[in-house]
């Protein structure tokens, strides 16, 4: 108990004694503010639920969601099959749970590709300015101006349908806003005094970019990323629905809707349940992103 009180005192001290304390304080105060926002907390719970479902999939499912069981095809939701079974008799609940791994995989892969590209291009453009800035931002504008889904479709057509290619296509159409944001941040940071101080001390440009400018761009990029996650999930599902993303029998939610489409009228649960899963997860990311934005950047709060 006293430890908790002490920790709280340490986290809320008026004057932080060290860099790490200051950093922890910022997160703690942000967390307190975040906690007060019920809507954002719902988002956090949903995303944690998604992660838990993905991690615990082998224990909470009774099948791997891939093997057909034609005797039990198109069963209505019941105690045995919570969400019913699909056209091949596979348990839809199990498939949804296994599908959460695919959703996380998509989200993670897109993040790994998009954030570094956006940060590098944006930070360099914003910090160096001049011709480099013009050229890089023109490039960014072109990708921003491009119809995203259609570009992703064209990329998938070139690379061939499949989950990884869909992810790559989405990444290629998603990086541009991050470059824009990082550039805007770098522009404001560029002229601050601590950058000048670093320059005077003889820190190299690369050092300034990696150690001083990039970390400060991180919070806006994270907020934007969380807000974009929903869009990424929806695009991936859309590609899956069109037959350009994950291929059967992968339990990708968009592809599940596409396959269940013909059973819509008589066995409504087959295409409906995966849609609800997509809706809930993308809602979760949107709620979480909204909450994070309110914490990190209260001014632009929407």
């Amino acid at each position: 108990m006293t430890l908790a009180v002490n920790l709280r005192g340490w986290l809320l001290a008026d004057i932080p004694r060290s860099k790490s304390q200051a950093r922890c304080q910022r997160f703690y105060i942000g967390w307190l503010e975040f906690q007060r926002n019920p809507v954002a907390m719902i988002g956090l719970v949903i995303i944690l639920g998604l992660i838990a479902a993905a991690a615990l999939a082998p224990w909470i499912t009774s099948s791997n969601g891939l093997e057909p069981d034609l005797v039990n095809r198109l069963q209505a939701p019941s105690a045995e099959h919570w969400f019913g079974t699909d056209q091949l008799g596979r348990d839809i609940f199990d498939r949804i749970i296994w599908g959460s791994r695919i959703t996380l995989y998509i989200v993670g892969l897109v993040t790994i590709i998009v954030v570094p590209i956006g940060l590098v291009i944006g930070v360099i453009a914003g910090y160096l300015g001049g011709l480099v800035d013009s050229v890089l931002m023109r490039l960014t504008d072109i990708f921003l101006a491009f119809p995203r889904l259609i570009l992703a479709m064209a990329f998938v057509a070139v690379l061939g349908p499949g989950l990884e290619n869909a992810v790559l296509a989405i990444a290629l159409t998603t990086w541009s806003p991050f470059a824009r944001i990082a550039r805007a941040e770098a522009l404001t940071i560029r002229n601050s005094e601590f950058i000048l101080a670093a320059q005077v001390q003889g820190v190299s440009t690369v050092g300034i970019l990696t150690r001083h400018v990039t970390p400060l761009c991180a919070s806006s990029v994270i907020v934007r990323l969380t807000l974009d996650m929903a869009g990424i999930i929806l695009t991936a599902a859309g590609l899956g629905f069109l037959g350009l993303g994950a291929q059967p029998p992968t339990p990708e939610w968009g592809a599940m809707i596409s396959l269940g489409r013909q059973y819509l009228i008589d066995q409504w649960w087959v295409p409906t349940v995966p849609g609800i899963a997509i809706l809930v997860v993308s809602l979760g990311f949107n709620l979480l992103g909204d909450g994070l934005r309110d914490v990190f950047d209260p001014k632009s709060g929407g």
Binding site: A145, P147, M153
Partner: protein, 352 residues
């Protein structure tokens, strides 16, 4: 940044020369963006793992025929020469011919585009007339339950997979309740009766004064329009709310309140007038993204629009059609965005 004298006088009369320079700049970047757009699409279409010659002559053609078509298509030349040639043709409005329909791509697009335009327009109008009041309502009740409800509803519209929403709507409103007509633009027996003047069926039917067809077209249009509109509605409501909050926290609002001006006049007469200017960009952005975002809605509702044209061409390896369709949609996208940007510059005296 934010001058509190947010007057929104229109851009009539004198305009300082800097506006002309700015417009020239916008046009220049428009041209540059468009060039990049064509370049990327062209490269995509050329690295497609599809032999365009085989797609035309079929796999039973003799070697001579193959060679002839190969040269005809200019495939022996380097890619940049092919690209420049394509640009030259594009400048003359020639997008090549579609393998699938055997018609010029431009003609195809002229047939398919009005359907998308009709859908996107209905969706955007819905977004404006429902989304804007919702956003204002939420902002006025900031932090209280009406606000939370509007925020969650907007987020739901944001988060729902549109193709799934379309399927569920079809199930409920078409299959179960029978309130609206099903997929497609018209019932089969009405097909081809009226002249395609604009290609927008509701307008064509109204011009022909055929109210049966008009009602039927409307009945087909309303559901996909509403589904596509959910995104517009969510986005516009959200942005309106955020802009309104921004305005309501300004000092001139406080001044107005102190002066005792009624709250409704402060909201609609003062704050909202300034929000209106900002909304131009948002509405333009929505409209542009709906033109391209209609791909999935069109697939679900079998709506014969540009999105479906591109998708089916893609599956049939019809590269001229994909290329042409993408460029036209991209050009509209870029064009509308630039136009709303320009309009914003002209209307907002601070930027001018």
């Amino acid at each position: 940044m934010r001058a509190s004298s947010g007057r929104t006088a229109g851009g009539s009369g004198l305009r300082p020369p800097s506006a002309v320079v700015k417009i020239a700049g916008v046009l220049f970047s428009l041209a540059l963006t468009f060039l990049g757009l064509t370049a990327i699409t062209f490269v995509i279409s050329r690295v497609m793992p599809v032999d365009p010659v085989l797609a035309i002559v079929g796999d039973r053609a003799s070697n001579e025929v193959y060679q002839q078509v190969y040269l005809q298509l200019g495939l022996d030349q380097p890619v940049y020469v092919q690209y420049l040639k394509y640009l030259g043709q594009l400048a003359q409005g020639d997008l090549g011919s579609s393998i699938m329909t055997t018609r010029p791509v431009l003609e195809d697009i002229r047939r398919f585009f009005p359907a998308t335009l009709e859908l996107a327009t209905v969706a955007t109008l819905l977004g404006i007339f429902v989304g804007v009041p919702m956003g204002v309502f939420a902002a006025v009740h900031q932090g209280r339950w009406p606000d939370h409800i509007v925020r969650v509803v907007a987020l739901l519209g944001y988060s729902a997979p549109i193709f799934w929403l379309g399927l569920v709507a079809l199930l409920i409103f078409y299959a179960k309740l029978g309130w609206v007509a099903g997929p497609g633009r018209l019932d089969v027996f009405y097909d081809g009766i009226i002249d395609p003047v604009t290609g927008i069926l509701t307008i064509d039917a109204a011009l022909a004064r055929d109210w049966d067809i008009f009602r039927n077209a409307l009945s087909h249009l309303i559901l996909p329009g509403a589904i596509l509109g959910t995104f517009a509605l969510a986005y516009i409501a959200r942005m309106t709310r955020s802009f309104m909050l921004d305005q309501l926290s300004q000092e001139y609002i406080l001044t107005a309140r102190v002066k005792g001006i009624p709250e409704s006049r402060i909201i609609w007469g003062h704050a909202f007038r300034n929000v209106l200017v900002q909304l131009i960009t948002i509405i333009g952005l929505t409209y542009a993204s709906l033109l391209e975002g209609s791909v999935l809605t069109e697939t679900v509702f079998s709506w014969p629009g540009i999105g479906q044209y591109i998708t089916s061409s893609l599956f049939n390896n019809d590269m001229n059609a994909v290329l042409g369709g993408t460029i036209v949609v991209g050009a509209c996208f870029v064009g509308i965005n630039m136009l709303s940007d320009l309009l914003y510059r002209l209307v907002d005296p601070r930027i001018r």
